[in-house]
């Protein structure tokens, strides 16, 4: 197993007059779980879109194992080893659960179109291989008994897990998870945390996680990067981030000490907080 390293160096993205992301830098390595948090509209998903080639960065470099991948098409970036899930679930709703994963396995197929149309031996070999791999993944994610259902008919939590399974089917070195816990109930969140921890042990990937649920983020991540208005305002271990002044200000809208003062004043006045 070779370790992979994703390096993002001073990436900037400007939409018209708005700088969505400025000087964004991060390093993700195999086996690491990094968190990316920030208030709504801070530019987290834009960062993912930059990393996966949906947008081209206006400045800066993105390197995977020392090779530049910025400016390449999304499909080409995926084949070089970065996979993602989407914040607003983007499954292939009218395809079966199995086919969703099989589509993602298509980079494994070596046979050509002619091979598929004439049903040459290499077509059957590839298809059998892809099917076996997809079924292994679905089993791993507890979705095997639903494999023939249409993805759009799955319950919400299953859809989220299928998105992760599908992303893993592309054999990524770096996995980007965009709010995997969004809309999940507490029980599902606990299961998800366990799942992500297990992923890191079973698959040779590094994970970059966007998440609003602080419980999930603080529990899972080795390091956290905080974005606000497109800029990194803090990086560090979860416990460092929790007491970082700037982070608290970004989330609460005022400096932490002023919150404390306000609370103190309210207490003095005897009102309920």
């Amino acid at each position: 197993m070779t370790a992979a390293k994703l390096e993002v160096q001073n990436v900037t993205k400007i939409f018209g007059g708005l700088t969505a992301v400025r000087d964004f830098s991060i390093v993700v390595e195999t086996g690491q779980l990094q968190g990316l948090i920030g208030p709504n509209g801070a530019g987290k998903t834009t960062c993912f879109n930059l990393l996966t080639g949906v947008y081209r960065p206006d400045a800066g470099k993105i390197l995977l194992n020392g090779k530049r991948i910025d400016g390449r098409r999304p499909s080409s970036i995926t084949s070089s080893g970065i996979a993602r899930t989407f914040q607003n679930i983007r499954l292939f709703r009218d395809l079966t659960v199995l086919d969703n994963v099989r589509v993602a396995c298509h980079l494994r197929a070596r046979h050509t179109l002619v091979g598929a149309l004439l049903r040459l031996p290499n077509h059957y070999r590839d298809e059998a291989h892809i099917r076996a791999h997809s079924i292994r993944l679905l089993e791993r994610f507890g979705l095997l008994d639903r494999s023939e259902e249409l993805a759009g008919n799955l319950p919400y939590g299953d859809q989220r897990r299928l998105e992760i399974a599908r992303a893993l089917a592309t054999d990524p070195k770096i996995l980007l998870l965009d709010e995997p816990a969004a809309g999940m109930n507490p029980a599902e969140k606990i299961a998800l945390k366990e799942l992500i921890r297990q992923l890191l042990k079973d698959f040779p990937v590094g994970i970059l996680l966007i998440e609003h649920d602080m419980d999930v983020v603080m529990d899972l991540c080795d390091r956290i990067t905080v974005l606000d208005y497109g800029q990194i305002i803090a990086t560090g271990k979860p416990e460092e981030i929790q007491c970082d002044e700037k982070v608290i200000e970004a989330y609460l809208g005022c400096p932490a000490h002023s919150v404390e003062e306000a609370v103190q004043k309210d207490l003095e006045r005897g009102t309920d907080v």
């Binding site: 098409r73 995926t78 709703r93 009218d94 395809l95 099989r102 589509v103 993602a104 298509h106 598929a116």
Partner: protein, 360 residues
């Protein structure tokens, strides 16, 4: 190995069977009807590869049909004289009439039949190249741009053909130079007196090949990539699917079979006219695909049979002029009652499998 060859072999046997049985017992009516239905199936199933599988919206299929038809027509009309001096006679498999009109000395398989096969394939390739040229720039774009480009393409083809030179009569063929033959596509009069080779055998051979191609595509890695583009192009790209490449591939395959359908039209009717293959013809094919269900091969076949034979069934003479009104009404009702077409994205066999699954 056997499973790869079994289906093509069945296609061949069915084509021979249809040709033999209908030709033996029919007085000409069914040969004609089944030819028209077969060509409609080829058109619908091939358009479904673009509109149904990849979810792009092409409404210029008649353009590819015209290109294939005219190339086949001119190859058969001019080419047979140039290559063979006299017109090669069709053999048994290319005999387009009831068998009781057959000359008892007819050969099973002659040079003319081989020539016709080559003509069909070149018509397909010609249309496929046109498809590549149209698809390369327009399929990079997302959304409805393709629809606009394909409408334009269909009209360009029609107008180009209508402004071509008059067809060179066979009697003056030896005095005509090459340029007359290349530009002599019959102007707005249509291209006539095309040697008839388009028998039921050829029509149903290509119907079978088209359906087989579509089904084998659908259940393969490449076809699943098409479907994923229809479902969500951004997600498909994120899974490593090179969307532009696959869209162009689908478009070219689709154009290829439309070109073959053109060759079959020209050589079964003996005439082809671009004026009749205008925007309305493209729309007819789109209606069939939408009615059948986007992405359903069996739905496209079903809708092609119904919509082609329905006007005939309801007395073509009086009915023909209301056909467009009926099309509109059928479309409106289908869109209200079954917004995803008769079959949706499913196939006939999916429905049966689900039934069995529920019972078991």
């Amino acid at each position: 190995m056997i499973r790869s060859i079994f289906a093509p072999l069945m296609v061949l046997l069915i084509a021979i069977g249809v040709h033999g049985l209908v030709g033996r017992y029919d007085d000409g009516y069914w040969i004609n009807q089944l030819t028209i239905i077969g060509i409609a199936i080829i058109l619908a199933v091939s358009l479904n590869i673009v509109n149904g599988f990849t979810g792009q919206f092409s409404i210029g299929h008649a353009g590819f049909l015209s290109l294939g038809g005219y190339l086949a027509g001119s190859l058969l009309y001019y080419g047979s004289v140039m290559f063979f001096q006299t017109r090669p006679e069709p053999g048994f498999f290319s005999f387009t009439q009831p068998f009781d009109r057959m000359d008892p000395t007819i050969v099973w398989w002659g040079i003319g039949d081989l020539f016709f096969l080559c003509v069909c394939l070149s018509a397909g390739l010609f249309a496929a190249v046109a498809g590549l040229i149209v698809g390369l720039p327009s399929l990079r774009l997302r959304g409805d741009y393709l629809a606009i480009v394909t409408v334009g393409f269909g009209e360009i083809v029609r107008i180009l053909i209508e402004s071509s030179q008059r067809q060179v009569p066979l009697s003056r063929l030896n005095r005509a130079d090459g340029w007359d033959l290349v530009t002599g596509w019959g102007s707005a009069m249509g291209f006539n007196y095309i040697p008839k080779f388009g028998s039921l055998f050829w029509v149903y051979l290509f119907v079978g090949i088209t359906i087989l191609t579509a089904i084998r595509l659908k259940y393969s890695t490449h076809g699943r990539a098409y479907l994923s583009i229809r479902e969500d192009e951004i997600a498909a790209e994120a899974m490593g699917v090179r969307s532009t490449r696959y869209k162009i591939q689908a478009f070219v395959i689709s154009a290829f079979f439309a070109g073959i359908a053109g060759a079959l039209t020209a050589s079964s009717q003996g005439t082809i006219n671009a004026t009749e293959l205008a925007f309305m013809k493209s729309l007819e094919i789109v209606v069939i695909v939408v009615l059948g269900g986007m992405g359903s091969v069996s739905g496209a076949v079903l809708a092609a049979v119904v919509l082609t034979y329905l006007p005939e069934l309801l007395q073509a003479e009086t009915f023909a002029r209301y056909r467009l009104i009926l099309y509109a009404l059928v479309l409106i009702f289908v869109m209200i009652l079954r917004p995803r077409g008769l079959m949706g994205t499913r196939e006939v066999w999916d429905v049966f499998r689900r039934r069995r699954g529920v019972q078991g």
